[in-house]
């Protein structure tokens, strides 16, 4: 997918969906997005992140409105439970019937690196899953914020390029924001929405942080304005 000024921005198999610290072990379920696919993410007691299609196989209820109970995800509608392998382990309305073995939630491969949760869009696609998950580089030290931007990822990439950022890896751009060394990780949520996760290489002083945050807001404003003027 090309941006107007010729910067190639190919969506990678692995995308940074959430900062790792958003998921507290066996506590919360957070929504994520991956090229139009809604995700429900949660962390097991053992620490492993689960990235599931955000839809219960029973009646299509979003799993993100469910809750974590005894290291299982319990759907809000009928209380069906799914374990960390995505298999259904309880159907409370029929406690005496054997559980259908085929009944599982669709799950996506997950990797954690540099404080981020990466999810692969491959979901069992053998060829695509050969793409290796990202590994930690140690470059991300301080989490600044995530920005939800109402613009296609190509537009965000274009603007980053215009701000002097360079693409250095899968969905990864490096540059400076308000004088601070920054890394921006892009998640193509849908064809019209992008999440930009902004990290700094070290913790700034309070005033400097304030400037960085202001720069982020301006960045988003500019990208969104350009995207909407093009579409109107």
């Amino acid at each position: 997918m090309n941006s107007p000024i010729g910067v190639e921005m190919q969506s990678q198999i692995w995308q940074p969906v959430l900062p790792s610290h958003y998921l507290r072990a066996s506590k919360n379920i957070v929504a994520g997005f991956l090229q139009g696919q809604e995700l429900a993410l949660w962390r097991s007691e053992a620490g492993a992140v689960q990235a599931w299609e955000n839809r219960c196989p029973h009646r299509g209820t979003r799993l993100t409105i469910g809750r974590i109970l005894n290291d299982q995800l319990s759907c809000a509608y009928h209380g069906w439970e799914f374990d960390t392998r995505g298999g259904c382990t309880a159907i409370p309305a029929n406690p005496s019937l054997p559980l259908p073995k085929q009944l599982r939630v669709k799950s996506f491969p997950v990797a954690e690196a540099d404080g981020m949760v990466w999810v692969s869009a491959a979901a069992g696609n053998a060829a695509a899953s050969q793409a290796l998950p990202p590994t930690s580089t140690g470059a991300l030290a301080f989490f600044c914020r995530s920005l939800g931007i109402r613009a296609p990822m190509g537009d965000v990439a274009t603007e980053l390029n215009a701000q002097g950022f360079k693409a250095t890896g899968a969905q990864t751009w490096e540059g400076t924001l308000a004088g601070q060394a920054a890394t921006v990780l892009l998640n193509e949520a849908t064809s019209l929405r992008t999440f930009a996760h902004v990290w700094l290489s070290e913790e700034p002083a309070a005033a400097a942080l304030s400037d960085v945050l202001a720069k982020c807001r301006l960045f988003r404003r500019d990208v969104e304005a350009r995207a909407s003027s093009r579409s109107s």
């Binding site: 019937l97 085929q102 009944l103």
Partner: protein, 324 residues
């Protein structure tokens, strides 16, 4: 559904401790048709929040009794809902009645009539007795009850009693009933027909004894109230399944599903709920009789027998051939 006519409860009384008797008069004040002895009428039971039920009740009307329908209904603890509703029916209320039919008529060629009534089976038999009495025909009425207090419509039996034609047998156990019947059915007199109505086991006993005594079949008449009992065959059997396309045959053991047996034989069928509800494993039946255990197929589909859900259903016959 046939046309119905509204009737009003003119009178209701308990003729025995567990039999309610009713007189239902037409709401339009027109006469009821002349009722043949042995006839029954259709009741349309509409209840709030339930699908309508149709029930049949035998009429006790005497000849010429045309201002109301008369009948009695026993409160059955295991009823499918029909009789308990009737007991809340009060004087002045309206009910809908349908057709009057007779599946238990008196034989025109009979010259003697042996009437056998067990419990609530008295209702059609009583109509017969009243009709035979009015025609001065030869008959005997034998009425089997648990106790004297369970004799229903005693006032209508007075004539028969006075004539010595009524015989009430109280408190007999199965052996006692059989002994009395053995005596009564011991060789029919010329032109004698027997008519029997009562609980299933009572009629079965009459049937057995009559057959043992070589009572001619055309001279033996039953009015069976209840639907045939469900055969006690809930015990599963092993059977064979053949997959018509591959020719594979496999045996489905007791406790094993068709899907499991096929998988063991190397044929995988996609399933989903494994509870006979989702329709994913729906398969065509080439030949055989499916034993449906699912909650997916419609009544028509079940009866047609051309579809099966192999994750839960079984086979009634030893061989089931599937289109796989």
């Amino acid at each position: 559904m046939s046309a119905t006519r509204p009737f009003v409860v003119r009178r209701k009384w308990m003729t025995t401790p567990d039999v309610a008797a009713f007189e239902l008069a037409p709401a339009d004040d027109l006469a009821v048709p002349e009722i043949e002895p042995g006839a029954h009428v259709e009741f349309m039971i509409e209840r709030a929040g339930q699908p309508p039920l149709v029930r049949h009740y035998s009429l006790c009307n005497a000849p010429g009794e045309r201002d109301a329908f008369v009948f009695g209904i026993k409160l059955e603890p295991q009823s499918r809902g029909g009789s308990s509703w009737i007991h809340t029916l009060e004087t002045g209320q309206t009910v809908k009645l349908g057709a009057v039919r007779n599946l238990f008529p008196l034989s025109q060629s009979a010259r003697r009539h042996l009437l056998l009534a067990g419990g609530i089976g008295i209702t059609p038999v009583l109509a017969m007795a009243q009709a035979l009495e009015a025609n001065s025909a030869e008959y005997q009425l034998h009425y089997f009850v648990r106790g004297e207090e369970h004799v229903a419509f005693r006032e209508r039996l007075e004539r028969a009693q006075a004539q010595g034609r009524l015989h009430v047998h109280t408190g007999l156990d199965a052996a006692g009933v059989r002994a009395v019947l053995a005596d009564l059915l011991d060789g029919p007199a010329a032109g004698e027909h027997a008519y029997c109505c009562g609980p299933g086991f009572f009629m079965d006993t009459v049937d057995e004894v009559a057959q043992a005594k070589h009572w001619p079949e055309e001279g033996l008449h039953f009015e069976r109230f209840q639907a045939a009992p469900v055969a006690a065959d809930a015990i599963d059997d092993a059977f064979e399944v053949e997959l018509s396309r591959s020719g594979t045959r496999c045996r489905v053991e007791v406790g094993q599903t068709i899907i499991q047996a096929m998988a063991a034989a190397g044929c995988e069928v996609i399933t989903s709920c494994e509870q006979g509800v989702c329709g994913t494993c729906l398969t065509n039946v080439i030949s055989g009789t499916p034993d449906h255990r699912d909650a997916y197929l419609s009544k028509a589909e079940r009866e047609a027998g051309k579809l099966i859900l192999p994750c839960v259903s079984r086979s009634k016959a030893p061989l089931l051939i599937l289109d796989l």
